[in-house]
């Protein structure tokens, strides 16, 4: 079962700010769902390969030829904050 701390950690990983009430609600829901799922742990699968994509075909390769053009102005018209062609975010410290 998940704990309050687990959900806090998940919220941090997924960059969500949760109020205490929201966190408690999510915690309850997450545990409800997870208990629904726990029976699958008992199914014997050691010899079964995971199925990641249903069709099981292989990756096609693309020729190394430029196919995109510069559309910066168009795309940046959608951006919240732009200056001199750069996307702006609050200062990042390293």
């Amino acid at each position: 079962m998940l704990t309050h701390q687990d959900v806090e950690k998940l919220a941090k990983l997924t960059q969500l700010a949760l109020s205490d009430t929201a966190l408690a609600e999510h915690l309850q829901a997450l545990n409800q769902t997870t208990s629904l799922l726990s029976p699958i742990k008992n199914i014997a699968t050691t010899t079964i390969e995971p199925l990641i994509s249903p069709l099981e075909i292989n990756q096609r390769l693309r020729a190394d030829v430029v196919s995109e053009t510069n559309q910066r102005d168009r795309y940046q018209s959608l951006a919240p904050a732009v200056e001199n062609g750069l996307y702006l975010v609050p200062k990042v410290l390293d």
Binding site: L2, D6, V7, L10, A11, L13, T14, Q15, L16, A17, L18, A22, H26, Q28, A29, L30, Q32, T33, T34, L36, L37, P39, I40, K41, I43, T45, I48, E49, P50, L51, I52, S53, P54, L55, I57, Q59, R60, R62, Q71, R74, Y75, L78, A79, P80, A81, Y87, V89, P90, K91, V92
Partner: protein
């Protein structure tokens, strides 16, 4: 007129009973009249629609008469439409005017179809109710005290209520088929890889497939003819040849073997729905099919593994919505963490946040093997079940939904929406084409049955559904008042 099929409208246009422009004006008028009560549309693109209609008329005058020319469609609001808002039912993308078209949109535009607008949906395809949209719930035209179904809520309501001749949508676990069943429509989810995913906002990348809600299988075939096919921009796009799906609709069903997994008809299934589905099986027998009992031993695990894999993939697909390059950004972010956290928490709805947390949980280091990897292994077993079954049968028949749509104000627990997909989600796990068609009425509400075919055998699905629809009239029922 509002309940005519696409095929019928195409015929009428060919016969010059009206122009494409007149037809589009008619639908725009219906939208104006009825959408306030239904809330199907997030964006109505009236001007563009009329322009497209005029172009269609011009093309027809020049001698063209292809099936989709001038036909008014509407699109679920997760297909990117160039220069038109593409919101995915979310505040996060309320201001997102897509700079490009989804491949499907391109294909339909080129075929001369008219786009009436973008349809409401459960936010980022999360949920099966039609109630989680930032733009408010979409209402059920059959009974507004019940949910309309989701995630393709607006796509279903619009066609059922005659506000569009047909609609497009994405199915990630039943999101086309369930609302189709609830609303008396034919809902098709093609084989994974059959239709390009380019420009279609992902939920779970290995589940998602674009499909259609129509009145008939015949209409579905017309749309699939245009939209199926290889797209080099999608690595998961299949290179299978595209047959003419319309040409095989009328094939007799003699010798068609239809599998029924009796185990699925027990448990939580509403017995009346079970009866309606079995009655449709008898009808198919009368048309020449034989029924065969099959087993799908791992069917009971489909919901569990789809929940794990689906939320896992979806949670990472949500990470791009961060307030940096497009979409919602919170006001006056204090620092980078604040920018991310508030933009996402304010821009994404509760259910989206919940599934994001859930998916991250199953991918976390401690849970990864036990949940995610284990689920992917069982996924192979589920697929194998179907491959085995298809050695003995040509199609599989089951209910689409275990029950009628629940009441709008019903309180449900966290698992309700996952469980609603108990019959539909296996097709997404295995990548199989599946279709829901109307097979009865219960308490005056539509009941659907689901047909599943082997990979790339949509023609067989559409053929069986079409023949059924020639012999029955459930698909012609429409909600009162619309």
């Amino acid at each position: 007129m509002q309940h005519k099929t696409m095929a019928q409208l195409a015929q009428a246009l060919t016969n010059k009973e009206f122009s494409a422009r007149e037809l589009t004006e008619y639908y725009l008028q219906r939208i104006k009249q009825h959408d306030p009560a239904l809330n199907c549309f997030v964006t109505v693109t009236a001007e563009q629609a009329l322009q497209q209609a005029e172009q269609a008329d011009a093309r027809r005058a020049a001698g063209e008469s292809t099936p989709l020319l001038g036909i008014p469609l509407a699109h679920q609001d997760l297909f990117c439409t160039q220069e038109v808002r593409t919101s995915c039912g979310s505040k996060m993308l309320d201001n997102f005017v897509a700079p490009y078209n989804a491949q499907l949109i391109e294909q339909l535009n080129q075929a001369g179809a008219v786009s009436l607008g973008k349809l409401n949906m459960d936010e980022f395809s999360m949920g099966c109710s039609g109630q989680t949209s930032f733009y408010g719930a979409c209402n059920n035209p059959w009974d507004n005290s019940r949910i309309v179904g989701g995630a393709a809520s607006g796509s279903a309501a619009a066609v059922a209520a005659g506000l569009a001749a047909a609609s497009t949508a994405m199915d990630s676990g039943g999101d086309i088929r369930l609302p189709a069943a609830f609303n008396g429509l034919t809902g098709l989810k093609p084989t994974y890889g059959r239709v390009s995913r380019w420009g279609m906002t992902a939920y779970a990348s290995s589940f998602d497939q674009a499909g259609f809600l129509t009145r008939t299988a015949e209409d579905s075939a017309l749309l699939l003819n245009v939209c199926a096919g290889f797209d080099e921009r999608d690595s998961t796009s299949a290179q299978e040849a595209v047959p003419d799906y319309s040409s095989t609709l009328k094939q007799p069903l003699t010798g068609l073997r239809i599998g029924i997994a009796r185990a699925l008809f027990n448990g939580d299934l509403n017995s009346h729905i079970g009866e309606a589905v079995l009655a449709s099986a008898e009808q198919l027998q009368q048309l020449g099919a034989t029924l065969v009992d099959i087993e799908l031993p791992h069917a009971e695990h489909a919901v569990a593994i789809a929940t794990i894999i689906g939320t896992a993939e979806a949670s990472t697909n949500m990470s791009r919505f961060d307030g940096v390059r497009f979409g919602y950004r919170c006001e006056n972010p204090r620092d980078l963490a604040d920018l991310y956290q508030r933009s996402r928490s304010e821009g994404l709805g509760e259910l989206v946040q919940r599934r994001t947390l859930l998916g991250a949980y199953y991918l976390s280091a401690e849970q990864y093997q036990d949940y995610y990897v284990q689920a992917q292994r069982i996924r192979r077993l589920v697929k194998q079940d179907y491959m085995e079954a298809f050695k003995q049968v040509d199609l599989i028949l089951s209910p689409t939904s275990a029950d009628l749509p629940r009441a709008v104000n019903a309180t449900v627990d966290a698992n309700a929406d996952f469980l609603t997909q108990r019959y539909t989600v296996a097709a997404n796990l295995a990548g199989l084409p599946a279709l829901s068609l109307p097979v009865g009425l219960l308490e005056q509400l539509p009941v659907g049955a689901q047909l599943i075919a082997p990979h790339f055998h949509e023609a067989r699905l559409l053929n069986a559904a079409h023949q059924y629809q020639q012999a029955t009239d459930w698909h012609t029922r429409t909600p009162a008042g619309f």
